[in-house]
């Protein structure tokens, strides 16, 4: 960030006075105005802006919900209904918050798979990537606790299932469980704790997001070729180029968001959560929100409780080690014919796991879950390290500029962008 700050010159006397004491205008100028972005980045690079928008939306709608919401086991459900019925535009705020959580995850999954496809986790962006994995973890914790707050059947039983599996952790499991419960089972103290933490975590996310952007601005953005920036000709200034593209993409994303909020606000939820929590009636199927389903499938694929918990956490933690598990020097999958196939198999495998997570753990669902889980880990722990040695990457362009101009020069597409996998598999 600092390397560009010198270009900012305050115009007014007050501006000069202020800037010499707190150079925040210069920081903003260098980070969001003159900051150089690769000229060839595509729309997958707009999801960072979309995610920032969703975080702001969640915090804003959440603060308004909290003004009316009552975190008490006998009042929570009713207070949410009060928001839905009597508070002016309460239904809008609540549906924005509930569906906003889902949209947040839609965006983060695109963002993560973008990173996987273009090798954005490789040096020198390891810290940036790990901060992303931390944000993802915090998001999952926040969303899980948020889903408990309306205190419907699925809130209660979801909390019961998840806190019960935590008890399987050796040595500290029981302590963690009773700290979360605040008693001998999920109850009013649990709800109070979850509300407090649910309010806290988004601000921690905001903090880590700042670190994430900081760690981005040091090495700069990756791009679809994966070739690093070599000269000023490879880049354009953030404003207006990236700003306008981000604004456009965010507006389009808001259409999707509005579609859910206004037309199918309960499509992504569970009918059971419109039934007040009842500790003596277990719902027929206890299913988490869609964004947790792949991990839920992994948890249940392992017949042993502790093993399941370990596999579930490992499936997320393994992401943090990607920079070292991937041995290929080439970043962009466009130049990696073999990895490209495995990338799409991984996408299909995750979708399959997600679908299995919504099915009861019986019959051959279990066996398919086990195969899909095994494949998930094999992808990261075996295929990825080996591919770097086996694969012959396609020739890379010498620079971003060359890849852009080559496109206009009659070659059709940038080298490799249309390269179909060549192997016979």
């Amino acid at each position: 960030m600092s390397q560009h700050s010198s270009t900012y010159v305050p115009k007014s006397a007050f501006g000069k006075w202020f800037e010499s004491r707190l150079p925040i205008a210069g920081l903003i100028h260098s980070s969001f105005i003159v900051y150089p972005v690769p000229r060839n980045i595509n729309y997958f690079w707009t999801f960072g802006a979309i995610l920032s928008f969703m975080l702001a939306s969640q915090i804003l709608t959440g603060v308004f919900l909290a003004m009316y919401y009552t975190p008490h086991a006998s009042l929570a459900f009713q207070s949410v209904e009060h928001i839905m019925r009597d508070v002016n535009f309460g239904w809008l705020i609540r549906y924005m918050h509930a569906n906003g959580a889902s949209m947040f995850f839609v965006a983060v999954y695109v963002h993560i798979f973008r990173g996987l496809y273009y090798g954005s986790y490789k040096a020198p962006r390891e810290i940036l990537w790990i901060l992303g994995v931390i944000i993802y973890g915090l998001m999952m914790a926040t969303a899980f606790m948020g889903y408990v707050l309306p205190w419907g059947q699925m809130s209660f039983w979801g909390a019961t299932v998840i806190t019960n599996i935590l008890a399987a952790i050796p040595v500290v499991g029981d302590t963690i469980q009773s700290l979360l419960w605040g008693g001998y089972s999920v109850g009013n103290p649990t709800l109070n704790r979850f509300f407090s933490i649910h309010y806290l975590l988004p601000f921690m996310i905001a903090g880590v997001v700042i670190l994430h952007i900081w760690a981005l601005h040091v090495p700069g953005q990756n791009n679809p070729t994966g070739v690093p920036i070599k000269s000023d000709k490879d880049t354009v200034p953030f404003t207006p180029f990236a700003t306008i593209k981000d604004l456009f993409a965010t507006a389009v994303f808001m259409i999707l968001f509005a579609w859910f909020v206004f037309y199918i606000p309960n499509y992504l939820g569970h009918a059971d959560n419109y039934v007040p929590a009842n500790p003596s009636v277990t719902p027929a199927h206890i299913v988490p929100e869609w964004y947790f389903l792949p991990f839920y499938a992994i948890l249940r694929a392992i017949p042993d409780k502790l093993g399941g918990v370990i596999a579930m956490f490992a499936s997320i933690a393994v992401l943090a080690f990607l920079p070292w598990l991937d041995t290929s020097k080439v970043r962009s999958t466009s130049y990696r014919p073999l990895y490209k196939q495995f990338f799409w198999i991984l996408v299909a495998d995750t979708l399959l796991l997600g679908w299995l997570g919504a099915k009861p753990p019986e019959g051959w669902y279990v066996i398919v879950s086990q195969i899909a889980t095994a494949y998930y880990f094999i992808h990261f722990l075996v295929i990825l390290p080996l591919l770097g040695f086996i694969e012959r990457p396609l020739p890379l362009p010498n620079s971003i500029l060359e890849s852009v101009l080559g496109q206009k020069g009659g070659a059709g597409l940038p080298a490799g962008a249309n390269a179909e996998p060549q192997s016979k598999g």
């Binding site: 180029f241 808001m254 419109y274 679908w355």
Partner: protein, 279 residues
């Protein structure tokens, strides 16, 4: 590549679909005035549905989240405030304590909740053979049935969100003789759509049971049948579950129109700016 992978994924999922298709009959899909992007409640239907609730269901089921005043709210059954005041006054509501410390009964007011038929859940269960009739305020949103692959994907595009309402009508009209060999336990009733097929609620509706308002020709404009009662009371319950549905869809259309125009303008601005360079 993307397309091919999607096809493979679809094939993988499709292969496993038959395994889930065995969960019993799905409720038939009905036409609802409140379905789709321009859906809104039909006032006359909500008024009829309210009449059915009041004369039939209210002896067993509460409507805890609804106040009398809601009945004159925009987007609802469209009763006048005077009608609502008169209606509320027909109910006795417990209030208090007064200055002497005693609870007392008074006539209902528009701000009161609908009085529940039973003082608590245990009393409700005791009066109904051990199963308490659930509160109906949220019922169409609190029930659903599994759509299965691939329908659940299409539903996101077609905005199909009436599965709960379809289920309710199916249950209310689903009372039949139990098939041979199916033994219905004491106090239970056979129902084709209730999960497990044995429901504690006795068949609540029968033809001609509720008298509907007459039109100019002295006849009710809709048939006084179980099927019609079930649809009307379900529409009414959908309104109690989602009283701002009309406003939601109306505002939603405006918001999406606005966003489309905004996106269009931003797109052309973006194009103009990026035309300065090769990219």
């Amino acid at each position: 590549m993307m397309k091919r992978t999607l096809l493979i994924a679809a094939a993988v999922l499709g292969l496993s679909a038959p395994a889930i298709a065995s969960e019993g009959a799905n409720p038939p899909q009905l036409k609802w005035s409140f379905a789709g992007p321009f859906g809104k409640f039909d006032e006359a239907q909500l008024q009829r549905g309210f009449k059915v609730y009041r004369e039939v269901c209210s002896s067993c089921h509460s409507l805890n989240y609804v106040n009398f005043r809601n009945l004159s709210q925009p987007g609802g059954p469209g009763f006048s405030e005077a009608q609502v005041r008169a209606l509320a006054a027909e109910y006795k509501v417990q209030d208090g304590p007064n200055d002497a410390g005693d609870m007392f009964e008074r006539a209902g007011r528009p701000a009161d909740h609908f009085p529940a038929p039973f003082p608590n859940e245990n009393a409700a269960a005791a009066a109904n053979g051990g199963k308490a009739p659930p509160d109906l305020s949220l019922m169409p949103k609190a029930r659903t049935y599994e759509r299965g692959f691939p329908w659940f994907i299409f539903d996101a595009f077609t905005q199909f969100a009436e599965n709960g309402s379809d289920y309710l009508v199916a249950v209310l009209t689903g009372y039949h003789e139990a098939p041979k060999g199916f033994s219905v336990p004491e106090g239970g009733h056979y129902n084709s759509y209730f999960p497990g097929n044995v429901i504690a609620m006795p068949k609540p509706l029968s033809d001609g049971q509720v008298e509907y308002p007459k039109g100019a020709d002295g006849k009710s404009p809709v048939p006084e049948t179980v099927d019609q009662y079930a649809r009307d009371v379900t529409a009414f319950l959908m309104w109690t579950a989602e009283p701002h549905l009309d406003a939601r869809k109306r505002i939603g259309f405006q918001v999406i129109l606005f966003l489309l125009v905004l996106s269009g303008l931003l797109y052309f601005t973006k194009k103009k700016i990026w035309s300065r360079i090769e990219h």
